[in-house]
Symmetry: C2
Subunit: 491 residues, 2 copies
């Protein structure tokens, strides 16, 4: 059964309504409304929400309430963060919000806000030990993570809107003043410097990652898992200081005036913690609120597996087939590894599984060219927990699951040495398994491989006639030879 949860995130910079639709097997964001409300405008100077921003906020909440009732949303979670949390007239705002929209807005304490950022990070990356940075308009949260658990969390009033209003960085002197302020504030985070991995969440982070990705000339299908080095961040700070930041590709117009302060805060955290890079994720506070609902204790059991299964479940109409192709692909890959035909890298094994699980999802777009549509869906939906390089390899392997000579295409830019050979092996295993399961009836139960005299002999365990499976599989000999350096025979 499909259920829906609307999270309304009343942030200092923008208000967002995000609708999550979920069942027992998949979830996805299905709707979003975004308003650059800037409810925190003028707060830094006066300590109170100002009349104009407050009116914008109330109108936006009315719209969101309308939207939820019109679309029959089961459940609404309106939450507010730093600006509303710190405003002296918070009670007045909450009462007006309830009166005009019927929504009872929950003001999150700093620790809860930090927890949702942490949940967003650990459920969309493979972070096990390290630090989560969550930068909003009003505040910045740091959470220390050990064995995927949050062991300490703190919030600082270092949000991008707030720092922009207070320091207006850009000119050298004001930028230096902000840098000093950040360094001083962060002295209270005693454990900064003890971890080497930093995952960052929030709109500032997403904009910076997009800009860094474009600056590096990388193909861009979203920033999930993209690693921004401190050098790359430094170069962006340089560009934001020397011209209009909104002119930098990747930076949204509505965030142009805030991005420099935000970048400086992140740079300050990297300085204080000795981090060489931060890892971006698409998820943020809103996803954190949703994950708390979705997972027992808020934690997915296996982020990478979940990402693949989630995508496969959304599109696939013949799950038994995909799972069987995945099983046969791994049997082939494992057997070839055991015979010394590849290094049996466990990460490559996961790519084989993922590509096999997702090879057919493109049929949801159109049967014709469905291999290309599978790649499109994989790249555009993204696979949390996988790096852009890995997602690209999975997409290319799905692209080549039927025919053609596997190549990296535009993804050569994100590839490592040897990735062409990785792709050949992954595509060869998936393609062979697809041919064995061509009748889609799982009649080839299992297979094994014996290498002798320079020939790889694929042995099938099957019910019924395997002539067709054999005949189809043997036609894949060319790619097999290229990937594994052996002729293929099927018996």
């Amino acid at each position: 059964m499909e259920r829906r949860l609307a999270v309304i995130d009343c942030g200092s910079n923008s208000f967002r309504l995000v609708v999550f639709t979920y069942t027992d097997t998949w979830w996805k964001r299905t709707d979003e409304i975004h308003e650059a409300v800037r409810v925190g405008e003028g707060l830094e100077g006066t300590g109170a929400l100002q009349p104009a921003p407050m009116e914008r906020a109330l109108e936006t909440l009315e719209l969101y309430a309308h939207f939820c009732s019109a679309t029959g949303i089961d459940e609404i979670r309106p939450v507010a963060t730093s600006a509303i949390r710190d405003a002296s007239n918070q009670a007045e705002f909450l009462a007006a919000a309830l009166d005009r929209s019927g929504l009872s807005v929950e003001v999150l304490p700093g620790a809860s806000e930090a927890r949702y950022g942490y949940l967003a990070a650990v459920n969309t990356t493979t972070l096990s030990d390290g630090v989560v940075l969550d930068l909003g308009g009003g505040s910045m949260q740091l959470t220390r993570v050990a064995s995927r658990q949050a062991v300490d969390a703190r919030s600082w009033p270092l949000g991008a809107v707030r720092m922009t209003e207070r320091f207006a960085p850009g000119k050298k002197k004001r930028t230096e003043a902000l840098r000093e302020h950040i360094a001083q504030e962060l002295e209270s985070a005693e454990w900064l410097g003890e971890d080497s991995r930093l995952v960052a969440v929030g709109g500032t982070v997403r904009n910076l990652a997009a800009a860094a990705q474009l600056a590096a000339g990388m193909p861009s299908y979203g920033i999930q898992g993209y690693l921004v080095t401190r050098t790359a961040l430094g170069e962006l700070i340089e560009r934001f200081s020397s011209g209009p930041p909104a002119d930098v590709p990747g930076i949204k117009a509505s965030r142009g005036d805030l991005i420099l302060a935000g970048a400086l805060v992140i740079d300050g955290v990297m300085e204080a913690g000795g981090f060489e890079a931060f890892e971006a994720t698409e998820a943020g506070l809103r996803e954190g609120v949703f994950f708390e609902r979705l997972h027992p204790e808020g934690l997915a059991s296996d982020v990478r597996r979940d990402a693949v299964r989630n995508l496969a479940s959304q599109y696939d109409t013949d799950f038994a087939h995909s799972e069987h192709v995945a099983r046969l692909s791994l049997e082939i890959w494992d057997a070839l590894g055991a015979q010394g035909l590849h290094r049996a890298d466990p990460e490559e094994r996961e790519l084989v599984w993922a590509a096999a699980m997702l090879h057919d999802i493109g049929v949801a777009v159109d049967y014709d060219d469905h291999h290309k549509h599978s790649r499109y869906l994989i790249l555009n939906a993204g696979l949390p927990g996988f790096s852009p390089r890995e997602t690209a390899l999975i997409g290319q392997a799905a692209r080549y699951h039927r025919k053609g000579n596997p190549g990296l295409g535009e993804f050569a830019a994100v590839a490592r040495d040897g990735d062409r050979a990785v792709l050949d092996r992954v595509a060869a295993c998936v393609r062979l398994a697809e041919q064995l399961e061509r009748s889609r009836d799982q009649s080839v139960h299992a297979c094994s491989v014996v290498v002798a005299n320079g020939v790889a002999e694929l042995r099938l365990r099957a019910s019924g006639d395997t002539r067709i499976a054999r005949w189809a599989a043997e036609r894949q000999g060319d790619l097999f030879q290229r990937a594994f350096g052996r002729d293929l025979s099927v018996v």
Copy 2:
């Protein structure tokens, strides 16, 4: 309820199994297996199916039967055309097929084969009066169409496999001999020459259209509705005669040796009928068999409307919203036309409706960038009944339904003069309607426009508070001004 029909098309060149999945509101091809069986190999010389091709055919039918039982297909329609129809040992083949696969293959008389080609053409193009050409491996059918009804149909043994085997065109003398043969055969089609519109179906046609499209440097998202002029066909024939046809981009390797004979047959029909161009469609015999099941009397009531509704129903999760946006878009467009702000071209009106109906389908891929995904789905699935130019305009309007300056992008190549302005108008109406329906509750029931003093005043009829709709709509003033040359005010 979803139902499935598998059509098995035992053609002279290839055997194809195509699965159609359909409900009361949509249909799509969901699976396909293709084998280049060439059952007709050697038939032209001996009059009988030869042992090796027959064995390939029987193995393929076994595979297809397995596939259907494994995937639980409700209904199977195996049909055979020219090669099997004309073979002296047809009965032996049919008995062996039943024995080994359990499939009872129906041999189509020439008239039935022609009828399915006709149904494929009239249900995927706007053909009302003209000729349908259906070229297979063994035979070629021509059907004369008047007011969408087939008024005459004939079949000739002029299929591409057959003509290749008999004439082996390429060298000038053999090519001329084939041309003469075609001209002689076609003398029996008395009504050829009385119509000006020619729609062509079949694998040869699809390959030729793809090659012509690539040769013209057009962006290619399939050949649905693509018009191949006789000049373009002549240039392709020239290229096929002077080098390996499979080297011509768009021509599949498995069809390389047949394409010249096929092209000459089509050219012969164009000569005999005085046609200046033929219009290609993706559909063929298999779709014809399916349409006979889907539509009362085999005919869709409105091909263009059906194409849009079919696509919308497959992806859209909030049909009430899309239909309401379509209604409001048309009200705005109609009102502006009545006030003389555009020429009220009925074809443009259909583009407005189609773009509005399809604007949100990309949410099925991912909420982020869903406007771009909508375009991708529209272009790749295709819209039967619309030309490539119209499909491109609908896709671009969906692409720009949220933000950005509408532009033709790569589709400038298929555009006509003035299409940039058409796109502006279509996108402006859809975008404005989308803003009025931002709360997705259909609370803005209707709207009208009054133009006075250089300002277009949009008047809303609504239940409840319209402040948000007005506020959101007014932000679309820039595009409105560009599209209609008037400032926008919403009251």
